[in-house]
């Protein structure tokens, strides 16, 4: 037994990210670690790699109990991790990155560059990687960067290599490349832990699978003995709390129609429509392209081809300004980054997108602005002293309401909510849902991106599911989590035929 994790616990503030993480990894096996977004996979692996420290449980490495205080402790023991987001120094060369932190010395504290490049070149040669030691890392593709991280891991003589969703940003051929490497590592009797959402493509390399759910290990079994449906069943057995239930309204006119929209590298031929009074859920795994779809529709990223039709009229949306003019509103995934001006008063935020309504010839009409702000505070039940309070001082839920109020003030009627409940507590979530419901009832059309499947089931009238930049299917509001997960994570029969 290479690694054994027993009942690992981890808290972040009040949130229990891990309750009972159990995992056994043998030398010479590829162990898949699966689970929904937020199941605790990455947290568990960060504990193994020494990036964070556990709050409870036992970690046994090659028969000895261990305690890693920092990543260096783990790598000294032979544990290496290839991260989802590359942790390389982009301006340095591949060789320099492979040796980062353990440079070869040539006496007098000088770095022996020649030797480092030689060793790196040999390493790359040995594995037939399409790399050159002297290339700067910033010019590499995501796959190339991962190969560099793998080189780093192999070079320090690791006996366990952890991959955190390595293929989520890779193309098909790059994915094949990574798989090939994973198999080689296994043949050399290394242990490999492979975190993924995409089981379909991994049956070929995975030997065993462990499923995490809500911070607990729920099942471990050899891949040979388990069906895809069984894995889905273990992954999504989360309870749907009945905190909120929405009564759907009869949908009205078509507010937005998207036909064959393609954008960037990810989005391919997306078609769907939104009608007045509807809340349409958009499910999928992280990296499926949901945020990118919102950005493209809102004019942040360019649309390469396809049509966008707003209330029956084709429109060209090349900037957020044009999207706003067409009646669209985006409540972004990251509130602090693109939604809220934290250091400014609530009133400034409320009227930010509708200045023309509260000004004449460039001069502000303060009474009108106050009126508008008061209206928004009352309508959305924003808990604050008054409109002059700084927006950043409010609670997460109330901040979100301020972002929404900006679009209410503007009179938007097509809302793109990207993860609207992220980082806000349960009570505030219900309030956000109520606001969305009220918007829909007053005739708006809503697209709601959420990684929380129970949320989609509670709020959405119908659910679109994306996978790798495509819409893989549409489900009615009363569907099950299994059905969503199947569309989100697995290749459909028709896709396989293509």
């Amino acid at each position: 037994m290479l690694l054994e994790l027993r009942a690992i616990e981890k808290r972040f503030g009040g949130v229990r990210a891990l309750k009972a993480g159990n995992l056994n990894v043998e030398a010479g096996e590829v162990h898949l670690l699966m689970g929904e977004n937020g199941a605790g996979k990455s947290t568990l692996m960060k504990i193994v790699a020494g990036l964070i420290q556990r709050d409870g449980g036992e970690m046994i490495w090659k028969g000895q109990p261990v305690n890693f205080q920092r990543p260096a402790d783990a790598s000294a023991m032979g544990i290496a991790m290839v991260h989802q987001e590359s942790l390389l120094a982009p301006h340095l060369t591949i060789a320099e990155n492979i040796f980062l932190g353990r440079e070869l010395q040539s006496g007098f504290g000088l770095v022996n560059r020649k030797k480092m490049f030689e060793v790196a070149a040999r390493l790359i040669e040995e594995h037939h990687f399409p790399l050159k030691a002297e290339w700067p890392v910033q010019r590499l593709s995501p796959a190339g960067k991962q190969l560099v991280e793998i080189c780093r891991a192999i070079h320090c003589g690791s006996s366990l290599l952890i991959f955190d969703e390595p293929t989520s940003s890779l193309s098909d051929s790059e994915t094949d490349e990574v798989f090939k490497i994973v198999r080689t590592l296994r043949d050399r009797k290394m242990g490999v832990i492979y975190i993924t959402h995409r089981l379909d493509e991994l049956r070929a390399v995975g030997d065993r699978v462990t499923v995490l759910r809500d911070g607990e290990t729920v099942h471990t079994e050899p891949m040979a003995g388990i069906t895809t449906d069984q894995i889905i069943h273990y992954m999504v057995g989360r309870e749907v709390s009945s905190i909120y239930h929405r009564e759907p309204v009869a949908p009205g006119e078509e507010m937005l129609a998207v036909k064959n929209l393609s954008s960037g590298k990810l989005l391919k031929k997306i078609s769907f429509n939104l009608r007045a009074g509807e809340i349409v859920g958009l499910g999928g795994l992280i990296g499926a392209g949901r945020t990118e779809l919102c950005r493209a529709l809102f004019g942040v990223d360019p649309i390469d081809s396809g049509e966008v039709i707003v209330r029956g009229k084709p429109v060209q949306i090349r900037s957020p300004r044009e999207a706003v003019a067409a009646g669209m509103a985006l409540i972004p995934e990251d509130r602090g980054k693109a939604g809220l001006a934290r250091e400014l008063p609530i009133a400034f935020n409320v009227t930010m997108a509708s200045m023309d309504d509260v000004s004449k010839m460039g001069i502000l009409d303060k009474p009108a602005e106050n009126e508008k702000t008061k209206g928004a505070i009352t309508r959305l039940r924003i808990k604050c002293e008054n409109g002059t309070q700084l927006a950043g001082r409010l609670s997460g839920g109330n901040q979100q309401k301020v972002v929404i109020s900006k679009w209410l003030a503007r009179g938007a009627n097509i809302f793109l909510f990207d993860e609207p409940t992220r980082g806000i507590d349960v009570g505030a979530k219900v309030e956000v849902f109520e606001v969305m419901d009220e918007l829909a009832r007053s005739g708006a059309a809503i697209l709601m991106v959420s990684s929380e499947m129970p949320e989609l089931l509670q709020v959405a009238d119908r659910i679109l599911v994306m996978r790798q930049g495509k819409i893989t299917g549409e489900l009615p509001g009363g569907c099950t989590q299994q059905e969503i997960m199947r569309l989100a994570a697995f290749q459909t029969v028709t896709e396989e035929l293509q």
């Binding site: 939604g339 809220l340 001006a341 250091e343 400014l344 460039g362």
Partner: protein, 306 residues
């Protein structure tokens, strides 16, 4: 609250302290000379306030001041009426401010870099157009702008108050001012809200240039020459005034009152040092320390608040 008032208290304390410490301080000659000296930096600092609120910076204002002064005095040299000359100076400032804004928004290069570049370009062009020589042939009446008095008060004080009031209105009561705060506080949110960010950013730099052009004419009037080397290092004094007055280089913060107080604190420090016989070398060190102190106090206040 006390910390927010600290710049005001410092100003009052300086004033009272100097009144007691030097018999020459509280005389009309000295006070009006403080006002005249401070007005130039102060008017530039008003424009700088607007720029800094958008989380930008303008390092070229010293050069624009010289360019404005030269453009105006050369126009006067050719026999133009005084108000035409003044307008020429303001116009030159407006033009170069616009160029700054245009480069920043079109080339999407950091304001620090763009204005560092235009600082060199504008100063160079000013020296080329004058051959490095000052412009002297100026009608006597022009001295009124910088040295004249109206209702027993230096004329520049009226100008300063007018500009300050106008800037206050811009910041607090116009769409432009509101957008400046929004862009400085969260540029991405401003862009997502459909605000024409490039247009308003350009306007902000143009206004800063325009005020600097006016300051350049005041400076020229006080010296009664157009100096191609005028205004060197003024950009840092203008930035310091904004920062002492509570403006944040991270954007989204700044006020006209704060900047006025900041500029007068620096004016009094320098005047007081002269009166008390403190060497100009020590003066520089004191002003430097005050800048760091003011920002530290402001940072502490904000950290406590959040």
């Amino acid at each position: 609250m006390i910390q927010r008032l600290l710049p005001f208290l410092t100003l009052i304390l300086l004033f009272v302290g100097l009144s007691i410490g030097s018999p020459h301080f509280l005389t009309s000659t000295n006070l009006s000379s403080v006002v005249r000296q401070t007005a130039v930096i102060n008017i530039m600092a008003l424009g700088m306030t607007l720029v800094i609120i958008t989380s930008g910076i303008d390092l070229s204002v010293g050069a624009i001041l010289a360019m404005g002064g030269i453009a105006g005095t050369m126009t006067l040299e050719h026999g133009a009426p005084i108000f035409v000359g003044v307008l020429a100076g303001i116009g030159a400032g407006l033009f170069w401010g616009f160029v700054n804004g245009f480069l920043i928004t079109r080339l999407k290069i950091a304001p620090f870099i763009v204005t560092l570049g235009t600082l060199g370009i504008i100063r160079g062009l000013t020296l080329i157009s004058t051959n490095g020589l000052p412009v002297h042939q100026i009608p006597q009446g022009f001295s009124y702008l910088g040295e004249g008095s109206l209702l027993f008060v230096p004329f520049v004080l009226w100008l300063l108050l007018g500009c300050a009031l106008a800037m206050h209105v811009v910041l607090e009561h116009t769409k432009l001012g509101r957008y400046a705060f929004a862009i400085g506080s969260n540029p991405e949110a401003a862009y997502y809200a459909g605000i024409p960010v490039a247009f308003h950013t350009t306007a902000v730099y143009a206004i800063c240039g325009m005020l600097t052009g006016l300051a350049g004419m005041i400076e020229a009037s006080r010296l009664m020459t157009g100096q191609p080397t005028a205004g060197q290092g003024y950009e840092l004094q203008a930035i310091a005034a904004v920062v002492i007055g509570g403006g944040s280089l991270r954007g989204g913060e700044g006020s006209v009152l704060g900047t006025l107080v900041g500029a007068f604190i620096m004016g009094l420090l320098s005047n007081g040092s002269d009166l008390l016989g403190v060497s100009p070398y020590v003066q520089q060190a004191i002003i430097g320390a005050v800048i760091i102190l003011a920002v530290t106090v402001d940072e502490l206040r904000k950290r406590k608040a959040v």
